[in-house]
């Protein structure tokens, strides 16, 4: 049985939290550059230029890409043959606390009742998945809530079909307008149960931006929704043009015969993510 210490996990979480805050990954930069190339609105093109310059400054001067360095959403994929020496939950929370402090990232987490800031950006939101083997993978999405707040979930009747699903996703994005910082990445969880669809929507954000679903019918749906969203003309920050969204990622899961849950998790253009394998 493979052993991993809590100390190793804390150090890894600290590192990916700090890196995610200041460095956009290549998939995001490539998509922003492509959006700039096809942009039709002069004002939106100028704003895209600024977003690219912003990414440069952030990486060079180690200033966060966006001041909203988010709630730390951590995905742990752990092989069942791995044994943790120490406390996994505490190790992750400590890594988040250290990463946000040492990385000069904003502490944005507060008690939901009193609204008093915890001043450590903890607790993080942790999703643990147990798999076969002895892998141990960590991924962080520092999730900003200007975009998170524009997300939505609906429990459609199966008769609503794919048209109903497509309409709900497009309407959720269009209703959000300029609020969530378009151009967006739209994560969709489809099927499962109430909570499963929401988790799938969030998880879909881990797929490299622009990589289509491996299922051909799902990839076709993704293209269809992206086209409809970009025809809305809201564009970059609601200033017009053809780039309201950069991508739509759909993750399907079998549903009950009575049910078609659809969850839409909205992500802004500053989609920060970082992965590490121990």
């Amino acid at each position: 049985m493979r052993e991993i210490t809590s100390k190793t996990i804390t150090a890894a979480v600290r590192e990916i939290a700090m890196a995610a805050g200041c460095d956009l990954e290549p998939d995001i930069l490539d998509n922003l550059l492509q959006a700039r190339e096809r942009e039709t609105s002069r004002l939106a093109a100028n704003v895209l230029d600024i977003l690219l310059i912003n990414a440069d400054i952030a990486s060079r001067d180690k200033i966060p890409v966006c001041q909203d360095t988010g709630v730390a959403v951590i995905f742990v994929t752990m092989g069942q043959d791995v044994r943790i020496i120490g406390n996994l939950e505490e190790a992750i929370q400590e890594g988040v606390r250290l990463g946000y402090e040492d990385g000069f990232l904003r502490k944005s987490v507060c008690d939901p009742i009193t609204r008093v800031n915890t001043m450590t950006n903890t607790p993080a939101v942790i999703h643990l998945e147990l798999v076969a083997g002895d892998c141990f993978e960590l991924a962080i999405i520092p999730k900003g809530c200007g975009s998170e707040n524009m997300s939505g979930l609906t429990m459609l009747p199966p008769s609503a079909g794919l048209d109903g699903m497509v309409d709900f996703v497009v309407e959720t994005v269009v209703a959000a307008g300029p609020n969530p910082c378009p151009p967006l990445l739209v994560g969709v969880g489809m099927g499962g149960t109430f909570e499963k669809s929401a988790l799938l929507a969030k998880k879909s954000l881990l797929r490299p931006l622009g990589e289509p679903s491996p299922r051909r019918d799902v990839a076709e749906l993704e293209r269809k929704i992206l086209n409809r969203i970009n025809k809305s003309g809201q564009g970059v920050h609601g200033l017009g043009g053809c780039n309201t969204a950069l991508g739509v990622h759909i993750e399907p899961y079998p549903a009950h015969i009575a049910s078609l849950p659809v969850a839409v998790n909205i992500q802004c253009h500053a989609h920060r993510h970082k992965e590490i394998s121990l």
Partner: protein, 200 residues
């Protein structure tokens, strides 16, 4: 590889605006105009507003006189040693909608954030002669370079939601709502709708 392109021509079009505003200044600005703000402004977001209103309810004075001022909806990230401020881009403005009419009544002249305002806030801007600006969401590192000084004024225990005074230079923004009741987001949207009905 550097992602740096040529300096965006955005800046060539900026109308220079001094802060705080003198009487009548904001009435000259129109929806859709690009502005470069230079001078002093105050920051505040959810908790800052909540505390303003607690003070007002108790009949006490606010920590700053808001008349003629611009209130920027931002919760900056901490500055590294040697930096003026960390990332300092806008937060979404609608969450402050419930508070804004009262502050405009008290003499606040402009608010700045990102995203749409409510009909009630838009009516208040016409009534009290105020404007709303949007700056670039997700460009917090870039915008931090336009902030030349940052000073903590009040509510330090609110962390990023404290009240700061920023000295800014050519801080870029777009006028969304002007004192005549126009809304630039709606105009962009309606323009698109007209174009698509033309092509049918």
């Amino acid at each position: 590889m550097s992602m740096l392109r040529s300096n965006p021509d955005f800046f060539a079009d900026l109308k220079e605006v001094s802060l705080p505003f003198a009487a009548g200044d904001v009435e000259e600005l129109r929806a859709g105009e690009l502005v470069g703000l230079t001078g002093v402004l105050y920051t505040g977001r959810d908790q800052t507003h909540r505390r303003f209103f607690d003070l007002l309810e108790q009949g006490r004075e606010l920590p700053v006189d808001l008349s003629g001022q611009l209130l920027y909806y931002v919760g900056p990230s901490p500055a590294r040693p040697g930096q003026v401020i960390g990332a300092a881009g806008p937060t979404t403005s609608y969450r402050m909608d419930v508070y804004t009419p009262r502050l405009l009544e008290l003499g606040l002249k402009a608010t700045m954030g990102k995203g749409r305002r409510s009909p009630r806030v838009r009516e208040a801007m016409v009534k009290y002669k105020g404007i709303y600006l949007a700056t670039i969401g997700g460009a917090g590192a870039f915008l931090s370079k336009c902030i030349k000084a940052a000073e903590l004024v009040a509510f330090a225990d609110a962390g990023p939601e404290a009240l700061f005074r920023f000295t800014v230079e050519k801080f870029p923004a777009v006028v969304i709502n002007d004192t005549t009741g126009r809304d630039f987001y709606e105009e962009v949207k309606n323009d698109k709708l007209e174009k698509s009905s033309d092509s049918q």
